[in-house]
Protein backbone atom coordinates (compact mmCIF):
# COMPACT_ATOMS: atom_id res chain seq x y z
CA UNK A 1 0.00 0.00 0.00
CA UNK A 2 1.26 3.45 -0.90
CA UNK A 3 2.03 5.40 2.32
CA UNK A 4 0.45 8.50 0.78
CA UNK A 5 -2.98 6.91 0.62
CA UNK A 6 -3.70 7.39 4.32
CA UNK A 7 -3.03 11.17 4.43
CA UNK A 8 -4.86 11.55 1.12
CA UNK A 9 -7.90 9.66 2.40
CA UNK A 10 -7.77 11.70 5.61
CA UNK A 11 -7.78 14.94 3.61
CA UNK A 12 -10.72 13.78 1.49
CA UNK A 13 -12.69 12.62 4.55
CA UNK A 14 -12.17 15.98 6.28
CA UNK A 15 -13.39 17.91 3.27
CA UNK A 16 -16.36 15.65 2.62
CA UNK A 17 -17.47 15.49 6.25
CA UNK A 18 -17.76 19.26 6.35
CA UNK A 19 -19.86 19.19 3.21
CA UNK A 20 -22.07 16.33 4.39
CA UNK A 21 -22.74 17.47 7.94
CA UNK A 22 -23.25 21.14 7.24
CA UNK A 23 -24.89 21.15 3.82
CA UNK A 24 -28.21 22.98 3.85
CA UNK A 25 -29.59 20.63 1.24
CA UNK A 26 -28.90 17.69 3.55
CA UNK A 27 -31.18 18.98 6.32
CA UNK A 28 -33.98 16.60 5.32
CA UNK A 29 -31.72 13.68 6.28
CA UNK A 30 -31.63 14.96 9.86
CA UNK A 31 -35.43 15.26 9.85
CA UNK A 32 -35.69 11.70 8.53
CA UNK A 33 -33.32 10.41 11.22
CA UNK A 34 -35.01 12.32 14.01
CA UNK A 35 -38.61 11.51 13.02
CA UNK A 36 -38.78 8.21 14.97
CA UNK A 37 -37.08 9.90 17.95
CA UNK A 38 -39.84 12.49 17.92
CA UNK A 39 -42.47 9.74 17.58
CA UNK A 40 -41.19 7.78 20.58
CA UNK A 41 -40.69 10.93 22.63
CA UNK A 42 -44.25 12.07 22.03
CA UNK A 43 -45.54 8.59 22.80
CA UNK A 44 -43.59 8.52 26.04
CA UNK A 45 -44.76 12.00 27.03
CA UNK A 46 -48.40 11.08 26.38
CA UNK A 47 -48.03 7.86 28.36
CA UNK A 48 -46.42 9.69 31.28
CA UNK A 49 -49.23 12.27 31.28
CA UNK A 50 -51.91 9.65 31.25
CA UNK A 51 -50.13 7.65 33.96
CA UNK A 52 -52.06 7.51 37.15
CA UNK A 53 -54.85 5.57 38.77
CA UNK A 54 -56.51 3.38 36.17
CA UNK A 55 -53.79 3.82 33.56
CA UNK A 56 -50.42 2.08 33.72
CA UNK A 57 -47.64 2.47 31.26
CA UNK A 58 -47.34 -0.38 28.80
CA UNK A 59 -44.86 -3.13 29.64
CA UNK A 60 -41.28 -3.04 28.37
CA UNK A 61 -41.89 -6.21 26.35
CA UNK A 62 -44.67 -4.58 24.37
CA UNK A 63 -42.56 -1.48 23.78
CA UNK A 64 -39.65 -3.50 22.44
CA UNK A 65 -42.08 -5.02 19.93
CA UNK A 66 -43.29 -1.57 18.88
CA UNK A 67 -39.69 -0.40 18.62
CA UNK A 68 -38.80 -3.45 16.49
CA UNK A 69 -41.68 -2.62 14.14
CA UNK A 70 -40.75 1.02 13.72
CA UNK A 71 -37.08 0.09 13.37
CA UNK A 72 -37.70 -2.48 10.62
CA UNK A 73 -40.53 -0.79 8.73
CA UNK A 74 -39.61 2.84 8.93
CA UNK A 75 -36.10 3.33 10.18
CA UNK A 76 -34.15 0.77 8.15
CA UNK A 77 -36.36 0.51 5.09
CA UNK A 78 -37.07 4.22 4.70
CA UNK A 79 -35.01 6.54 6.93
CA UNK A 80 -31.62 4.88 6.49
CA UNK A 81 -32.45 3.90 2.91
CA UNK A 82 -33.30 7.45 1.79
CA UNK A 83 -30.72 9.01 4.10
CA UNK A 84 -27.99 6.95 2.45
CA UNK A 85 -29.47 7.82 -0.93
CA UNK A 86 -29.05 11.52 -0.09
CA UNK A 87 -25.57 11.16 1.36
CA UNK A 88 -23.92 8.65 -0.96
CA UNK A 89 -25.51 9.72 -4.24
CA UNK A 90 -24.17 13.20 -3.58
CA UNK A 91 -20.60 11.98 -3.25
CA UNK A 92 -20.08 11.53 -6.99
CA UNK A 93 -23.29 12.32 -8.88
CA UNK A 94 -24.03 15.39 -6.74
CA UNK A 95 -20.57 16.77 -7.47
CA UNK A 96 -21.07 16.09 -11.17
CA UNK A 97 -24.26 18.15 -10.99
CA UNK A 98 -22.45 20.87 -9.04
CA UNK A 99 -19.64 20.71 -11.61
CA UNK A 100 -17.06 20.46 -8.86
CA UNK A 101 -15.80 16.87 -9.12
CA UNK A 102 -12.78 17.93 -11.18
CA UNK A 103 -11.31 19.35 -7.94
CA UNK A 104 -10.44 15.80 -6.92
CA UNK A 105 -9.69 14.49 -10.39
CA UNK A 106 -7.00 17.14 -10.92
CA UNK A 107 -5.09 16.10 -7.81
CA UNK A 108 -2.42 13.39 -7.65
CA UNK A 109 -4.83 10.93 -6.08
CA UNK A 110 -5.67 7.53 -7.51
CA UNK A 111 -9.33 7.54 -8.35
CA UNK A 112 -9.88 4.44 -6.23
CA UNK A 113 -8.34 6.26 -3.28
CA UNK A 114 -10.63 9.22 -3.89
CA UNK A 115 -13.62 6.88 -3.97
CA UNK A 116 -12.49 5.15 -0.77
CA UNK A 117 -12.12 8.53 0.94
CA UNK A 118 -15.51 9.68 -0.18
CA UNK A 119 -17.16 6.40 0.84
CA UNK A 120 -15.52 6.56 4.24
CA UNK A 121 -16.72 10.13 4.73
CA UNK A 122 -20.27 9.19 3.70
CA UNK A 123 -20.16 6.18 5.99
CA UNK A 124 -18.91 8.20 8.96
CA UNK A 125 -21.59 10.82 8.43
CA UNK A 126 -24.42 8.32 8.00
CA UNK A 127 -23.27 6.16 10.92
CA UNK A 128 -23.04 9.18 13.24
CA UNK A 129 -26.47 10.50 12.21
CA UNK A 130 -28.33 7.18 12.27
CA UNK A 131 -26.68 5.48 15.26
CA UNK A 132 -27.34 8.66 17.24
CA UNK A 133 -30.94 8.40 16.13
CA UNK A 134 -31.13 4.71 17.15
CA UNK A 135 -29.64 5.52 20.55
CA UNK A 136 -32.03 8.44 21.06
CA UNK A 137 -35.01 6.31 20.02
CA UNK A 138 -34.06 3.65 22.57
CA UNK A 139 -33.60 6.32 25.19
CA UNK A 140 -37.04 7.74 24.40
CA UNK A 141 -38.61 4.27 24.67
CA UNK A 142 -36.94 3.44 27.99
CA UNK A 143 -37.34 6.89 29.50
CA UNK A 144 -40.80 6.31 30.93
CA UNK A 145 -39.78 3.21 32.88
CA UNK A 146 -38.35 3.38 36.36
CA UNK A 147 -34.68 2.58 36.88
CA UNK A 148 -35.35 -0.88 38.35
CA UNK A 149 -37.35 -1.96 35.28
CA UNK A 150 -34.72 -0.55 32.95
CA UNK A 151 -31.77 -2.15 34.74
CA UNK A 152 -33.67 -5.44 34.89
CA UNK A 153 -34.30 -5.21 31.15
CA UNK A 154 -30.69 -4.30 30.43
CA UNK A 155 -28.85 -6.72 32.68
CA UNK A 156 -31.18 -9.55 33.49
CA UNK A 157 -33.11 -9.57 30.26
CA UNK A 158 -31.30 -9.26 26.95
CA UNK A 159 -31.49 -5.44 26.75
CA UNK A 160 -27.78 -4.80 26.27
CA UNK A 161 -27.51 -7.37 23.50
CA UNK A 162 -30.68 -5.97 21.86
CA UNK A 163 -29.29 -2.43 21.92
CA UNK A 164 -25.97 -3.68 20.56
CA UNK A 165 -27.76 -5.54 17.78
CA UNK A 166 -29.82 -2.48 16.80
CA UNK A 167 -26.70 -0.33 16.67
CA UNK A 168 -24.89 -2.98 14.65
CA UNK A 169 -27.81 -3.26 12.22
CA UNK A 170 -27.79 0.53 11.86
CA UNK A 171 -24.08 0.57 11.02
CA UNK A 172 -24.41 -2.35 8.61
CA UNK A 173 -27.45 -0.76 6.96
CA UNK A 174 -25.40 2.40 6.35
CA UNK A 175 -22.60 0.30 4.89
CA UNK A 176 -24.92 -1.76 2.69
CA UNK A 177 -27.15 1.01 1.37
CA UNK A 178 -24.18 3.36 1.20
CA UNK A 179 -22.27 1.05 -1.11
CA UNK A 180 -25.38 0.52 -3.25
CA UNK A 181 -25.99 4.24 -3.72
CA UNK A 182 -22.34 5.01 -4.27
CA UNK A 183 -22.34 2.51 -7.14
CA UNK A 184 -25.71 3.79 -8.39
CA UNK A 185 -24.34 7.35 -8.38
CA UNK A 186 -21.56 6.24 -10.67
CA UNK A 187 -23.69 4.12 -12.96
CA UNK A 188 -26.87 6.19 -13.28
CA UNK A 189 -27.51 9.84 -14.02
CA UNK A 190 -30.95 9.95 -12.45
CA UNK A 191 -31.04 8.68 -8.85
CA UNK A 192 -34.81 8.18 -8.82
CA UNK A 193 -34.74 5.19 -11.16
CA UNK A 194 -32.21 3.07 -9.23
CA UNK A 195 -33.68 4.18 -5.88
CA UNK A 196 -37.17 3.06 -6.88
CA UNK A 197 -35.84 -0.21 -8.29
CA UNK A 198 -33.83 -0.98 -5.15
CA UNK A 199 -36.74 -0.05 -2.88
CA UNK A 200 -39.00 -2.50 -4.72
CA UNK A 201 -36.27 -5.14 -4.81
CA UNK A 202 -35.81 -4.88 -1.05
CA UNK A 203 -39.58 -5.01 -0.46
CA UNK A 204 -40.14 -8.17 -2.49
CA UNK A 205 -37.09 -9.88 -1.01
CA UNK A 206 -39.10 -12.49 1.00
CA UNK A 207 -40.73 -13.87 -2.14
CA UNK A 208 -37.55 -13.96 -4.23
CA UNK A 209 -35.79 -17.26 -4.98
CA UNK A 210 -33.14 -18.16 -2.42
CA UNK A 211 -30.17 -17.07 -4.60
CA UNK A 212 -31.64 -13.66 -5.41
CA UNK A 213 -32.58 -13.06 -1.77
CA UNK A 214 -28.89 -12.90 -0.95
CA UNK A 215 -28.36 -9.99 -3.34
CA UNK A 216 -30.01 -7.53 -1.02
CA UNK A 217 -29.30 -5.67 2.16
CA UNK A 218 -32.55 -6.20 4.01
CA UNK A 219 -32.17 -10.00 3.87
CA UNK A 220 -29.06 -9.84 6.05
CA UNK A 221 -30.31 -7.03 8.26
CA UNK A 222 -33.55 -8.85 9.09
CA UNK A 223 -31.57 -11.84 10.28
CA UNK A 224 -29.61 -9.56 12.60
CA UNK A 225 -32.61 -7.78 14.13
CA UNK A 226 -32.92 -9.01 17.74
CA UNK A 227 -36.71 -8.96 17.99
CA UNK A 228 -38.82 -10.61 15.33
CA UNK A 229 -42.27 -9.23 14.75
CA UNK A 230 -44.96 -11.91 15.01
CA UNK A 231 -47.25 -12.27 11.99
CA UNK A 232 -50.74 -11.87 13.38
CA UNK A 233 -53.60 -13.69 11.63
CA UNK A 234 -55.32 -10.43 10.64
CA UNK A 235 -52.18 -8.69 9.41
CA UNK A 236 -52.32 -6.98 6.00
CA UNK A 237 -50.65 -9.15 3.34
CA UNK A 238 -48.15 -6.40 2.38
CA UNK A 239 -47.16 -5.90 6.01
CA UNK A 240 -46.87 -9.65 6.52
CA UNK A 241 -44.63 -9.84 3.45
CA UNK A 242 -42.34 -7.14 4.79
CA UNK A 243 -42.16 -8.75 8.23
CA UNK A 244 -41.61 -12.33 7.17
CA UNK A 245 -38.12 -13.76 7.14
CA UNK A 246 -38.52 -17.12 5.48
CA UNK A 247 -34.87 -18.13 5.47
CA UNK A 248 -33.12 -16.52 8.44
CA UNK A 249 -29.38 -17.07 8.69
CA UNK A 250 -26.96 -16.86 11.58
CA UNK A 251 -25.56 -13.50 12.68
CA UNK A 252 -22.04 -14.29 11.49
CA UNK A 253 -23.24 -15.38 8.07
CA UNK A 254 -25.40 -12.27 7.81
CA UNK A 255 -22.45 -9.99 8.60
CA UNK A 256 -20.18 -11.88 6.19
CA UNK A 257 -22.85 -11.82 3.47
CA UNK A 258 -23.36 -8.11 3.87
CA UNK A 259 -19.62 -7.44 3.81
CA UNK A 260 -19.29 -9.55 0.65
CA UNK A 261 -22.09 -7.56 -0.96
CA UNK A 262 -20.32 -4.35 0.06
CA UNK A 263 -17.02 -5.56 -1.41
CA UNK A 264 -18.67 -6.55 -4.67
CA UNK A 265 -20.38 -3.16 -4.96
CA UNK A 266 -17.16 -1.33 -4.12
CA UNK A 267 -15.36 -3.32 -6.82
CA UNK A 268 -18.03 -2.23 -9.33
CA UNK A 269 -17.69 1.40 -8.17
CA UNK A 270 -13.88 1.32 -8.39
CA UNK A 271 -14.01 -0.07 -11.90
CA UNK A 272 -16.53 2.57 -12.88
CA UNK A 273 -14.63 5.50 -11.33
CA UNK A 274 -11.50 4.59 -13.31
CA UNK A 275 -13.46 5.18 -16.50
CA UNK A 276 -15.33 8.21 -15.25
CA UNK A 277 -15.17 11.19 -17.59
CA UNK A 278 -15.90 14.78 -16.71
CA UNK A 279 -18.41 16.00 -19.21
CA UNK A 280 -20.57 18.35 -17.19
CA UNK A 281 -22.53 19.56 -20.20
CA UNK A 282 -24.29 16.22 -20.50
CA UNK A 283 -25.29 16.10 -16.80
Amino acid sequence: MNPLWIPQIRAIVQLELKKTFFARRGLWIYFLALAPVALFSVHTLVELRLQGPGHNVSGIGQDTLVFAGVFQFFFVRLAIFFGCLGIFMNLIRGEMLDKSLHFYLLAPVRREVMLAGKFLAGLLASVVIFTMSTALQLLAVLWKFDSTTVSHFLYQGNGVSQIGSYLLVTVLACMGYGSIFLAAGLLFRNPIVPAAAILIWEAVNPVLPSVLKKISVIYYLKSLCPVSIPIEPGMAPLLALLVSNAEPISGYLAICGLLLLLLALMAVSMRSVRRLEINYTTE
Partner: protein, 312 residues
Protein backbone atom coordinates in the same frame (compact mmCIF):
# COMPACT_ATOMS: atom_id res chain seq x y z
CA UNK B 1 12.98 11.74 -19.61
CA UNK B 2 11.07 12.90 -22.67
CA UNK B 3 10.41 16.61 -22.23
CA UNK B 4 7.60 16.78 -24.75
CA UNK B 5 3.87 16.41 -24.68
CA UNK B 6 2.93 13.99 -27.44
CA UNK B 7 -0.43 13.33 -29.08
CA UNK B 8 -0.32 10.30 -31.32
CA UNK B 9 -3.27 10.12 -33.72
CA UNK B 10 -5.73 11.11 -31.00
CA UNK B 11 -9.46 11.34 -31.65
CA UNK B 12 -12.29 12.01 -29.26
CA UNK B 13 -15.96 11.62 -30.07
CA UNK B 14 -18.82 12.49 -27.72
CA UNK B 15 -21.28 9.96 -29.08
CA UNK B 16 -21.70 11.10 -32.67
CA UNK B 17 -20.24 14.54 -32.00
CA UNK B 18 -16.64 15.15 -32.95
CA UNK B 19 -14.42 16.59 -30.24
CA UNK B 20 -11.03 16.34 -31.93
CA UNK B 21 -9.96 14.14 -34.80
CA UNK B 22 -6.63 12.56 -35.70
CA UNK B 23 -4.51 14.93 -33.69
CA UNK B 24 -0.79 14.24 -33.83
CA UNK B 25 1.34 16.79 -32.02
CA UNK B 26 4.61 17.13 -30.23
CA UNK B 27 4.67 20.12 -27.90
CA UNK B 28 8.09 21.30 -26.66
CA UNK B 29 8.63 23.37 -23.48
CA UNK B 30 7.73 27.06 -23.66
CA UNK B 31 4.46 28.89 -24.08
CA UNK B 32 2.14 27.13 -26.48
CA UNK B 33 -1.20 28.61 -27.37
CA UNK B 34 -4.17 26.63 -28.57
CA UNK B 35 -6.02 28.97 -30.88
CA UNK B 36 -9.44 28.56 -32.39
CA UNK B 37 -13.05 29.63 -32.09
CA UNK B 38 -15.50 28.12 -29.60
CA UNK B 39 -16.07 24.45 -30.37
CA UNK B 40 -12.79 24.03 -32.24
CA UNK B 41 -11.53 21.43 -29.75
CA UNK B 42 -9.20 23.43 -27.50
CA UNK B 43 -10.79 22.43 -24.20
CA UNK B 44 -11.19 18.85 -25.41
CA UNK B 45 -7.43 18.68 -26.02
CA UNK B 46 -6.76 20.06 -22.54
CA UNK B 47 -9.19 17.67 -20.88
CA UNK B 48 -7.59 14.80 -22.78
CA UNK B 49 -4.15 15.86 -21.56
CA UNK B 50 -5.33 15.85 -17.95
CA UNK B 51 -7.30 12.61 -18.13
CA UNK B 52 -10.67 14.25 -17.42
CA UNK B 53 -11.80 12.55 -20.62
CA UNK B 54 -10.32 9.57 -22.39
CA UNK B 55 -9.48 9.43 -26.08
CA UNK B 56 -11.69 7.36 -28.36
CA UNK B 57 -8.47 6.37 -30.11
CA UNK B 58 -4.79 7.23 -30.06
CA UNK B 59 -2.32 7.80 -27.24
CA UNK B 60 -1.20 10.80 -25.21
CA UNK B 61 2.02 11.11 -23.25
CA UNK B 62 2.87 13.98 -20.93
CA UNK B 63 6.62 13.96 -20.16
CA UNK B 64 6.58 10.14 -20.43
CA UNK B 65 3.45 9.74 -18.32
CA UNK B 66 -0.03 8.83 -19.43
CA UNK B 67 -3.08 10.83 -18.34
CA UNK B 68 -4.62 7.75 -16.69
CA UNK B 69 -2.02 7.87 -13.90
CA UNK B 70 -3.25 10.90 -11.94
CA UNK B 71 -1.15 10.00 -8.91
CA UNK B 72 2.01 10.67 -10.97
CA UNK B 73 0.69 13.11 -13.53
CA UNK B 74 -0.61 15.83 -11.22
CA UNK B 75 2.62 16.06 -9.27
CA UNK B 76 4.01 17.62 -12.45
CA UNK B 77 0.89 19.07 -14.05
CA UNK B 78 -1.33 21.94 -12.95
CA UNK B 79 -4.61 22.59 -14.75
CA UNK B 80 -6.65 25.73 -14.46
CA UNK B 81 -9.87 24.64 -16.13
CA UNK B 82 -12.73 26.74 -17.37
CA UNK B 83 -15.13 25.02 -14.95
CA UNK B 84 -16.28 27.86 -12.76
CA UNK B 85 -17.42 25.72 -9.82
CA UNK B 86 -15.71 25.13 -6.53
CA UNK B 87 -16.31 22.86 -3.54
CA UNK B 88 -19.05 24.54 -1.50
CA UNK B 89 -18.37 26.96 1.30
CA UNK B 90 -14.60 27.24 0.95
CA UNK B 91 -12.54 30.43 1.16
CA UNK B 92 -9.83 31.05 -1.42
CA UNK B 93 -7.16 29.96 1.03
CA UNK B 94 -9.06 26.82 2.06
CA UNK B 95 -9.55 25.93 -1.61
CA UNK B 96 -5.82 26.00 -2.40
CA UNK B 97 -4.86 24.54 0.99
CA UNK B 98 -7.24 21.58 0.71
CA UNK B 99 -6.06 20.93 -2.84
CA UNK B 100 -2.49 20.73 -1.52
CA UNK B 101 -3.59 18.42 1.32
CA UNK B 102 -4.57 15.91 -1.38
CA UNK B 103 -0.90 15.69 -2.32
CA UNK B 104 -0.20 14.24 1.12
CA UNK B 105 1.82 17.28 2.25
CA UNK B 106 1.80 18.15 5.95
CA UNK B 107 -0.16 21.19 7.11
CA UNK B 108 2.87 23.50 7.37
CA UNK B 109 3.97 22.73 3.81
CA UNK B 110 0.42 23.18 2.51
CA UNK B 111 0.24 26.50 4.32
CA UNK B 112 3.54 27.70 2.86
CA UNK B 113 2.71 26.60 -0.70
CA UNK B 114 -0.83 27.95 -0.51
CA UNK B 115 0.29 31.44 0.53
CA UNK B 116 3.05 31.47 -2.06
CA UNK B 117 0.55 30.65 -4.82
CA UNK B 118 -2.06 33.08 -3.50
CA UNK B 119 0.55 35.83 -3.42
CA UNK B 120 1.59 35.08 -7.00
CA UNK B 121 -2.05 35.32 -8.02
CA UNK B 122 -2.36 38.61 -6.10
CA UNK B 123 -5.20 37.43 -3.87
CA UNK B 124 -3.76 37.70 -0.36
CA UNK B 125 -6.29 40.25 0.84
CA UNK B 126 -9.26 38.22 -0.39
CA UNK B 127 -7.83 34.85 0.62
CA UNK B 128 -10.06 34.45 3.69
CA UNK B 129 -13.25 35.40 1.87
CA UNK B 130 -15.62 32.74 0.56
CA UNK B 131 -15.07 32.00 -3.15
CA UNK B 132 -18.83 32.31 -3.63
CA UNK B 133 -18.42 36.07 -3.14
CA UNK B 134 -15.50 36.45 -5.57
CA UNK B 135 -15.72 38.36 -8.84
CA UNK B 136 -15.12 36.53 -12.12
CA UNK B 137 -11.53 37.77 -12.26
CA UNK B 138 -10.85 36.68 -8.68
CA UNK B 139 -12.26 33.23 -9.36
CA UNK B 140 -9.99 33.03 -12.38
CA UNK B 141 -7.02 33.98 -10.21
CA UNK B 142 -7.78 31.51 -7.44
CA UNK B 143 -8.00 28.76 -10.06
CA UNK B 144 -4.61 29.89 -11.31
CA UNK B 145 -3.26 29.83 -7.74
CA UNK B 146 -4.52 26.27 -7.39
CA UNK B 147 -2.85 25.25 -10.65
CA UNK B 148 0.57 26.66 -9.73
CA UNK B 149 0.50 25.87 -6.00
CA UNK B 150 2.56 22.66 -6.23
CA UNK B 151 5.15 24.13 -8.64
CA UNK B 152 4.21 22.05 -11.69
CA UNK B 153 6.43 21.49 -14.73
CA UNK B 154 3.42 21.58 -17.04
CA UNK B 155 0.84 24.29 -16.66
CA UNK B 156 -2.36 23.87 -18.63
CA UNK B 157 -4.61 26.91 -18.64
CA UNK B 158 -8.00 27.18 -20.30
CA UNK B 159 -8.65 30.82 -21.25
CA UNK B 160 -6.56 32.03 -18.28
CA UNK B 161 -6.80 35.72 -19.06
CA UNK B 162 -10.59 35.87 -19.24
CA UNK B 163 -12.03 38.35 -16.78
CA UNK B 164 -8.68 39.79 -15.68
CA UNK B 165 -8.13 43.53 -15.62
CA UNK B 166 -5.24 44.92 -17.72
CA UNK B 167 -2.78 45.21 -14.83
CA UNK B 168 -3.36 41.68 -13.54
CA UNK B 169 -3.35 40.46 -17.14
CA UNK B 170 0.15 41.89 -17.65
CA UNK B 171 1.36 40.38 -14.35
CA UNK B 172 -0.12 37.02 -15.27
CA UNK B 173 1.54 37.03 -18.69
CA UNK B 174 4.85 37.87 -16.99
CA UNK B 175 4.30 34.91 -14.69
CA UNK B 176 3.72 32.59 -17.67
CA UNK B 177 6.94 33.89 -19.22
CA UNK B 178 8.91 33.19 -16.04
CA UNK B 179 7.53 29.64 -15.99
CA UNK B 180 8.53 29.15 -19.63
CA UNK B 181 11.98 30.58 -18.93
CA UNK B 182 12.48 27.89 -16.29
CA UNK B 183 11.91 25.26 -18.98
CA UNK B 184 8.28 24.52 -18.11
CA UNK B 185 5.44 23.89 -20.49
CA UNK B 186 2.77 26.55 -20.42
CA UNK B 187 -0.13 25.48 -22.59
CA UNK B 188 -2.97 27.94 -22.80
CA UNK B 189 -6.04 28.37 -24.89
CA UNK B 190 -7.34 31.63 -26.16
CA UNK B 191 -9.61 33.02 -28.78
CA UNK B 192 -8.14 36.52 -28.37
CA UNK B 193 -5.66 36.34 -31.20
CA UNK B 194 -3.66 39.50 -30.62
CA UNK B 195 -2.99 38.30 -27.06
CA UNK B 196 -1.66 35.00 -28.36
CA UNK B 197 0.75 36.84 -30.65
CA UNK B 198 2.33 38.58 -27.69
CA UNK B 199 2.57 35.56 -25.42
CA UNK B 200 3.34 32.47 -27.44
CA UNK B 201 6.51 30.70 -28.45
CA UNK B 202 4.43 28.41 -30.60
CA UNK B 203 0.81 28.06 -31.57
CA UNK B 204 -1.55 25.24 -32.40
CA UNK B 205 -4.32 26.45 -34.69
CA UNK B 206 -7.55 24.48 -34.41
CA UNK B 207 -10.76 24.42 -36.35
CA UNK B 208 -13.70 22.04 -36.16
CA UNK B 209 -11.79 19.50 -34.09
CA UNK B 210 -8.78 19.42 -36.39
CA UNK B 211 -5.30 20.88 -35.93
CA UNK B 212 -4.84 23.05 -39.01
CA UNK B 213 -1.30 24.20 -38.23
CA UNK B 214 1.27 24.13 -35.46
CA UNK B 215 4.65 25.63 -34.68
CA UNK B 216 6.23 29.05 -34.53
CA UNK B 217 3.78 31.48 -36.12
CA UNK B 218 6.32 32.93 -38.57
CA UNK B 219 7.28 29.44 -39.70
CA UNK B 220 3.63 28.56 -40.15
CA UNK B 221 3.11 31.72 -42.18
CA UNK B 222 6.03 30.94 -44.47
CA UNK B 223 4.45 27.57 -45.24
CA UNK B 224 1.30 29.19 -46.61
CA UNK B 225 2.38 29.51 -50.23
CA UNK B 226 -0.99 30.31 -51.78
CA UNK B 227 -1.23 33.64 -49.95
CA UNK B 228 1.48 36.18 -50.97
CA UNK B 229 3.40 37.59 -48.03
CA UNK B 230 2.59 41.25 -47.27
CA UNK B 231 5.51 43.48 -46.34
CA UNK B 232 5.28 47.12 -45.28
CA UNK B 233 8.27 49.29 -46.15
CA UNK B 234 8.40 52.75 -44.60
CA UNK B 235 10.54 55.09 -46.74
CA UNK B 236 10.91 58.67 -47.98
CA UNK B 237 10.46 57.94 -51.74
CA UNK B 238 7.91 55.14 -51.99
CA UNK B 239 6.97 55.74 -55.67
CA UNK B 240 10.55 55.34 -56.78
CA UNK B 241 10.90 52.22 -54.67
CA UNK B 242 7.68 50.78 -56.15
CA UNK B 243 9.00 51.16 -59.69
CA UNK B 244 12.05 49.08 -58.76
CA UNK B 245 9.86 46.16 -57.68
CA UNK B 246 7.89 45.93 -60.92
CA UNK B 247 10.78 44.02 -62.51
CA UNK B 248 10.59 41.23 -59.92
CA UNK B 249 8.24 38.46 -61.03
CA UNK B 250 7.68 37.25 -57.44
CA UNK B 251 6.16 40.63 -56.54
CA UNK B 252 2.47 40.36 -57.36
CA UNK B 253 1.19 43.65 -55.96
CA UNK B 254 2.67 46.97 -54.86
CA UNK B 255 0.49 49.59 -53.18
CA UNK B 256 1.34 53.03 -51.85
CA UNK B 257 0.54 53.59 -48.21
CA UNK B 258 -2.22 56.17 -47.70
CA UNK B 259 0.20 58.58 -45.97
CA UNK B 260 2.48 58.27 -49.03
CA UNK B 261 5.43 57.47 -46.76
CA UNK B 262 5.32 53.77 -47.23
CA UNK B 263 4.72 50.87 -49.54
CA UNK B 264 2.82 47.62 -49.15
CA UNK B 265 4.40 44.86 -51.21
CA UNK B 266 2.91 41.40 -51.80
CA UNK B 267 5.40 38.73 -52.75
CA UNK B 268 5.09 35.04 -53.44
CA UNK B 269 8.74 34.43 -52.52
CA UNK B 270 9.83 36.36 -49.43
CA UNK B 271 13.41 35.02 -49.60
CA UNK B 272 14.01 36.33 -53.11
CA UNK B 273 12.23 39.54 -52.16
CA UNK B 274 14.59 40.21 -49.26
CA UNK B 275 17.63 39.42 -51.46
CA UNK B 276 16.63 41.94 -54.11
CA UNK B 277 15.48 44.39 -51.46
CA UNK B 278 18.95 44.35 -49.83
CA UNK B 279 20.43 45.49 -53.15
CA UNK B 280 17.78 48.21 -53.60
CA UNK B 281 18.22 49.46 -50.03
CA UNK B 282 21.82 50.36 -50.73
CA UNK B 283 20.70 52.88 -53.39
CA UNK B 284 19.71 55.45 -50.80
CA UNK B 285 15.92 55.58 -51.03
CA UNK B 286 15.58 56.64 -47.41
CA UNK B 287 14.26 53.34 -46.11
CA UNK B 288 13.21 53.57 -42.45
CA UNK B 289 11.79 50.16 -41.69
CA UNK B 290 10.67 46.86 -43.20
CA UNK B 291 8.15 44.61 -41.49
CA UNK B 292 5.88 41.78 -42.53
CA UNK B 293 2.26 42.63 -41.76
CA UNK B 294 0.53 39.28 -42.10
CA UNK B 295 2.66 36.86 -40.12
CA UNK B 296 0.58 37.23 -36.98
CA UNK B 297 -1.82 34.63 -35.63
CA UNK B 298 -4.84 36.54 -36.84
CA UNK B 299 -3.71 36.62 -40.47
CA UNK B 300 -2.43 33.06 -40.45
CA UNK B 301 -5.68 31.81 -38.96
CA UNK B 302 -7.66 33.76 -41.51
CA UNK B 303 -5.64 32.31 -44.41
CA UNK B 304 -5.94 28.77 -43.10
CA UNK B 305 -9.46 28.68 -41.80
CA UNK B 306 -11.29 31.74 -43.12
CA UNK B 307 -12.26 35.08 -41.68
CA UNK B 308 -15.70 33.95 -40.42
CA UNK B 309 -14.10 31.38 -38.16
CA UNK B 310 -11.70 33.87 -36.57
CA UNK B 311 -14.42 36.17 -35.34
CA UNK B 312 -16.86 33.44 -34.33
Amino acid sequence: MNKEIVFDDVSKFYGDVLGVNRVSLSVPPGITSLVGPNGSGKTTLMNLMTGLIQPSRGRIRILDMTPDEPEKLFRLVGYSSQFDSFPRGLTGYQFVHSYLRLFGFDRATCDEYAWRAIDRAGLREAAHRKIGGYSKGMRQRIRLAQAIAHNPRVLILDEPLNGLDPLVRAETIAMFRSFAKEGCHVILSSHVLHEVDIISDQVILMSGGYVVAEGNIQEVRSEIHDQPMQILIRCARPSELASRFFHDEHVVEVRLHHDRRGLLVKTTDPERFYLSFNAIALDGLGIESVSPVDDDVNSVYEYLVGSDEVTR
